[in-house]
């Protein structure tokens, strides 16, 4: 049961986290609906069920901090404050999209919000996130870089190169492994030498072994704040393994049938971060009316943003030839 007397988080921050997670959930659901209507083409990787991780970091980070995420990055982008129409517009290939349709679902980028890109080749962005962290150290500024990735990433070389470099250079960075138990279609334990794919590798890089229930938003927030403070104080990198679960398949094409029904049911019914957090807010005596008002507000925001995105024009064909180079063009000979 909750310990109301020793509440280290407080109502204000909890409601902030509630609003954040709800936004991630409802936008992702909307993205799924728009797919079914064939308004979103290409592929998409939804983070339904994993909202507590991006949500907690979204609350804990400051403006100016850098985040890097994977192709499953709609939630992480929204969590930094990117507009809903910017995200949905990009998914639908509209001019209002964050990158005017040039990147798509797997590459959401919003530099003004510190969203330094979504990366679709496993592992690469861990090394790149080291670079923004290195820049903060080089410039003697105190931004923190946070890099989100999945359990499958722990088996690619770049993961190991990046952790080693972050440690030897004492970089202000937080690596967040979202272990949703499946590497795409394959149970992660079947293809990994250790039980906890990130945490059990931490000691190889002289990092603490940190495992957290990634669906417990309060716990996620505590862990995120601790790791961010450590980085900001110049005490070096952290590696966090957050256990979570995808509510949907790996991508648009995947119904996720390789997972046992009982397992899916257990995570959906008993371990859903949003459902559980709503109950926790009530346990902390937060007025249900306030909780519901936030729900209505977010629903309304998502609907309005959807309308804006659908009304936004498609990109002009001339955009194909822009922004290869910093001069704005694509010419390669005189």
């Amino acid at each position: 049961m909750v310990d109301k007397l020793n509440d280290d988080i407080g109502e204000k921050k909890r409601l902030q986290l509630w609003e954040m997670m709800l936004k991630l959930r409802l936008v992702e659901k909307k993205a799924y609906d728009l797919f079914l209507q064939n308004l979103i083409k290409g592929t998409s990787h939804l983070a339904l069920g994993q909202e507590a991780i991006a949500g907690a970091f979204g609350v804990a980070l400051k403006q100016g901090d850098y985040t890097f995420c994977t192709y499953r990055g709609h939630a992480h982008t929204l969590a930094r404050g990117s507009s809903i129409e910017g995200v949905l517009g990009e998914l639908m290939g509209r001019q209002c999209g964050l990158m005017k349709g040039k990147g798509g679902s797997m590459h959401l980028t919003d530099v003004d919000k510190g969203v330094m890109g979504s990366y679709a080749i496993i592992g690469a962005h861990l090394t790149i996130a080291n670079g923004t962290a290195l820049a903060s150290k080089y410039n003697k500024t105190n931004e923190v870089s946070v890099c989100f990735f999945g359990d499958g990433t722990t088996n690619i070389g770049a993961f190991h190169e990046a952790l080693n470099m972050a440690k030897i250079w004492n970089l202000p960075i937080v690596f967040v492994c979202e272990n949703n138990l499946y590497m795409e279609y394959t149970p992660i334990h079947e293809v990994t030498a250790v039980e906890h794919p990130a945490a059990d590798r931490a000691s190889a890089y002289d990092l603490d072994r940190v495992i957290v229930d990634g669906n417990d938003a309060d716990e996620m927030l505590r862990i995120a704040e601790k790791a961010i403070s450590k980085a900001r104080e110049g005490k070096g990198p952290s590696l966090i393994e957050a256990k979570t679960y995808r509510h949907s398949g790996h991508s648009r094409a995947d119904p996720g049938k390789y997972r046992p029904d009982e397992e899916v049911k257990d995570w959906m019914e008993n371990k859903d971060p949003i459902k559980n957090y709503r109950a926790k807010l009530l346990d902390f005596n937060i007025n249900e009316k306030i909780i519901s008002e936030i729900e209505e507000k977010i629903k309304d925001q998502v609907e309005k943003a959807t309308e804006i995105s659908m009304a936004s024009p498609i990109p002009e064909i001339k955009e194909i030839y822009t922004d290869v180079w910093a001069n704005g063009g694509s010419e390669w000979h005189n």
């Binding site: 850098y66 964050l98 990158m99 005017k100 040039k102 990147g103 590459h107 980028t109 919003d110 530099v111 330094m116 890109g117 990366y119 080749i121 592992g123 690469a124 962005h125 861990l126 090394t127 790149i128 996130a129 080291n130 670079g131 923004t132 962290a133 290195l134 820049a135 903060s136 080089y138 410039n139 870089s145 070389g157 770049a158 190169e161 990046a162 080693n164 470099m165 030897i168 250079w169 822009t322 922004d323 290869v324 180079w325 910093a326 001069n327 704005g328 694509s330 010419e331 390669w332 000979h333 005189n334």
Partner: protein, 340 residues
């Protein structure tokens, strides 16, 4: 006036850029305390300290990733990949990340980064430490590709590469590190995308890059002395951006073209140039464009094998003579990959 080696011009060029701009730093394997495996970065650690000259682990992905991330914030890293062959282990970072991020982000992100790397054969290092890989990077939109042929070009092109707002791959030729040149002024800048004429002539246009440009120049001197042929030798200096205007101007004058490439035959940069020439100057051509390349084989190691694989001065001379004196356009170093 001082005599400077290509090797010394590399460390000087980096030092000059670092003195001018605090945003420039240098990262690579064995580059600091050891001064580089080719001794091309000697003295940098002593002058700039560990914060700006960083010895990295053998982690090419982590090196280029860190350089890219730093560049995304506005710093101007110079990253070394010890041998260009090692680009293969970090090609994701080069081809998917560094090259494409500006475009995919709709121009939100600039990546002002220089990747310098020791390229090319002549050292009998075998097939994994001798390749000429300019064409790998040339075919990827978003990368600029520079390959200097002499110390002054190293100085001038490095200055431009560091200042460039886009990623530049800077291919230094291993067999040129000992090449010497009298240099009056070291703090110079040469725009990327302007070819250089190494020898004037109106009978034939020979187009080369890096070591092959120097060999083409030597060939031109022999052609003039012994065969009364005046060859114009164009050193491209960069493949992207490409100075097509200089090529066109010369081809219109000569009507004969020979490209000299160190890379294996298939998809070498000479094929692209040949295609551009046929598009832009078809009516000026007096015969087909000839491509001199290494055969389509991995580079062998033994002296006699490597020497007979990479285009030599003699081969260039022979091909030009065959073309102009014997009307023979066949190029017999290119046969093995195709049926006849």
């Amino acid at each position: 006036m001082a005599q400077l080696t290509y090797r010394a011009s590399v460390s000087l060029a980096i030092a000059q850029s670092m003195r001018k701009d605090q945003k420039v730093f240098f990262i690579g394997e064995d580059v600091g305390a050891a001064g580089g495996v080719f001794k091309a970065t000697v003295g940098l650690l002593e002058e700039f300290g560990k914060e700006r000259v960083m010895d990295a682990p053998i982690s090419e992905q982590a090196i280029l990733g860190a350089a890219m991330g730093a560049a995304m914030t506005g710093l101007r890293p110079i990253a070394e990949i010890m041998f260009s062959d090692f680009l293969a282990v970090c090609w994701d970072i080069v081809a998917n990340q560094i090259a494409k991020t500006r475009y995919m982000s709709d121009g939100q992100i600039n990546i002002p980064l220089v990747i310098r790397t020791a390229n090319g054969g002549g050292s009998k290092f075998g097939a994994q430490h001798s390749q000429s890989l300019e064409n790998w990077s040339m075919m990827i939109p978003g990368l600029k590709v520079v390959a200097p042929s002499c110390p002054s070009d190293v100085l001038g092109l490095m200055d431009s590469a560091v200042k460039d707002p886009d990623p530049v791959i800077f291919y230094e030729h291993k067999s040129l590190y000992a090449f010497k040149e009298e240099i009056e002024q070291t703090d110079i800048s040469i725009p990327i995308g302007e070819a250089n004429t190494l020898h004037e002539g109106k009978d034939i246009t020979i187009i080369g890059l890096a070591l092959m440009a120097q060999r083409a120049k030597e060939a031109a001197l022999i052609l003039k002395d012994k065969h009364d042929i005046n060859a114009k030798v164009i050193d491209l200096r960069s493949l992207v951006p490409l100075d097509l205007q200089t090529i066109k101007k010369s081809v219109i004058e000569t009507g004969h073209v020979l490209t000299v490439e160190e890379n294996p035959r298939l998809c070498g940069w000479g094929a692209e140039i040949s295609s551009l020439i046929s598009e832009h100057c078809f009516k000026n051509l007096k015969g087909p464009v000839t491509r001199v390349t290494t055969p389509h084989v991995p580079l062998p190691s033994a002296d006699i094998l490597e020497d007979n694989t990479i285009p030599s001065v003699e081969l260039i001379v022979n091909e030009v003579v065959k073309k102009l004196k014997e009307n023979n356009y066949g190029n017999n170093n290119a046969i093995p990959w195709r049926n006849s």
